[in-house]
Amino acid sequence: MDRVLETPLTADDINSLKLGDVVYIKGIVYTARDMAHMTVRDKLEKSQNLPVDFQGSAVFHAGPVVKKTHTGWELGVIGPTTSVRMEPYAEMVGKLGVKAIIGKGGMREGSRDAFQKYGQVYLQAAPGCAALLADGIEEIQEVHWFDLGMPEALWVLKARKFGPLVVTMDCRGGSIYEGIKSKAIKTIDALYQPA
């Protein structure tokens, strides 16, 4: 039985997730990448309102390909972008109430700390499986900040069963990326003399 989480995500949902768990998301997923994060920061600094409520939300680091139709928008493909670029916004994203961050490559120490503080998880989407991931999206509900360009805009997606997603950073400070990196460093130390 596939495990499907429904948005808005609760603290219990997040607490129940362990490293290596495979999950799907049902409900609302926002996309946001570099420019959207920057725009959120600017608006918060100027005490302006945000167009969506991030409380309990899932944010997908992605720039989708979308087609305009008579009735609205049609999603082409959507895949994850490298999440570490959004690392400088870790604290801001945590404070906004975002519960799940979806992307590729994981995040660093700042996010790991924020995940513990605000109860968040990181979900790795399979990179390069843009068509499969798009299949789990039922419809595009809205778009904000389209002037940032199609990939950089904030898209509001309605998911029927978006995934599969793997829990790679949990809310207890666990991260599978950490282990991989420290192992690689040990290998390098064994192979070469330190400078």
Binding site: D34, M35, T81, V84, R85, E87, P151, E152
Partner: protein, 303 residues
């Protein structure tokens, strides 16, 4: 010959004739002559913009040892110019940037052979040091004539051929750096990287230095932008006002580091900061820093 073949051939012939009318012929021996001359001249004559900046620095430098160094450097550049000597013994590798107008037909030989011949003649006839080895890792044998040149070619509109020769020394080149920043890093991130790079280089690139900065493009393009920025004269500014402002701010901040002439301490760490930029991917913010010492030989000619 089939009908289609003959149609094809006649089309080609017609196009050749049409292009031929607008084509200007240039014998590549002219390129050899120009490259030879510029290799020599650039190494003897420190660019005017750098001399002006050094004179200005001599007035403003607060460190007494720094002042003395600047005075000696100016004396050196004068001797080099008057007595036809290389201002610096590291006469570098020959960087050759060539912009070929698309209406130009090059005749009389191969362009790259002609450029290398110019470098060979220039470095031998000008008593310049030969600093190129055949193979970077296993066979580090000096090629003996400073070839091959490091050539970048652009095809541009028009009927001109513009050639820029820059002699790039190793000491400053080794202090270069490149980082693939992310968009969130912004202006602050760029500034921090550039200033850190200069601080890290310290006395090694023979300050006062000229700082070439590339912003944008891709991994490979950004390094070339930084290098091309160094072929712009000291004291010139980027045409884009925001980038010109960034150049001025970076220069001011670099000169707060206290490294000073030759790294002996002082206010004059850099004579100028030149930035070149290019469009880039939405996920990227590449930045590259390429340094020149106060000599920074470069010259251009239009044939």
């Amino acid at each position: 010959m089939t009908a289609i073949d003959s149609l094809y051939v006649s089309n080609i012939q017609e196009r050749v004739i049409r292009l031929g009318k607008a084509t200007r012929e240039l014998d590549v021996s002219e390129v050899t002559k120009a490259v030879r001359q510029m290799c020599i001249s650039a190494n003897y004559n420190v660019p005017e913009g750098s001399i002006l900046a050094l004179k200005k620095a001599l007035e403003t430098e607060e460190s007494s040892v720094g002042k003395e160094v600047l005075a000696r450097i100016l004396e050196n550049h004068k001797i080099a110019r008057e007595e036809c000597l290389a201002a610096c013994q590291d006469t570098g590798v020959a960087m050759v940037f060539i912009e070929v107008g698309q209406n130009v037909k090059l005749i009389g030989g191969e362009l790259y052979d002609a450029i290398n011949e110019g470098v060979r003649q220039g470095y031998i006839d000008g008593y310049l040091r030969k600093s190129v080895v055949t193979d970077p890792l296993f066979e580090r044998v000096n090629t003996g004539d400073n070839t091959p040149a490091f050539i970048y070619t652009d095809i541009v509109p028009g009927s001109d051929v513009k050639i820029t020769v820059a002699a790039k020394g190793g000491g400053a080149e080794n202090m270069s750096g490149l980082r693939m920043l992310t968009p969130a890093a912004g202006v602050e991130g760029i500034k921090k990287f550039v200033v850190e790079q200069v601080a890290e280089a310290g006395p090694n690139p023979c300050p006062p230095i000229v700082v070439g900065v590339g912003i944008g493009g891709t991994f490979d393009r950004v390094a070339l932008l930084a290098k091309k920025a160094l072929t712009r004269s000291v004291g010139s500014h980027n045409a884009h006002p925001m980038y010109a402002k960034l150049e001025a701010e970076l220069l001011e901040e670099i000169n707060k580091l206290g490294i000073g002439p030759q790294g002996f301490g002082g206010r004059t760490t850099a004579l100028g900061v030149n930035i070149e930029f290019a469009p880039c991917h939405i996920a990227s913010l590449p930045v590259a820093v390429n340094l020149n010492c106060h000599v920074g030989p470069h010259e251009s000619v239009i044939l």
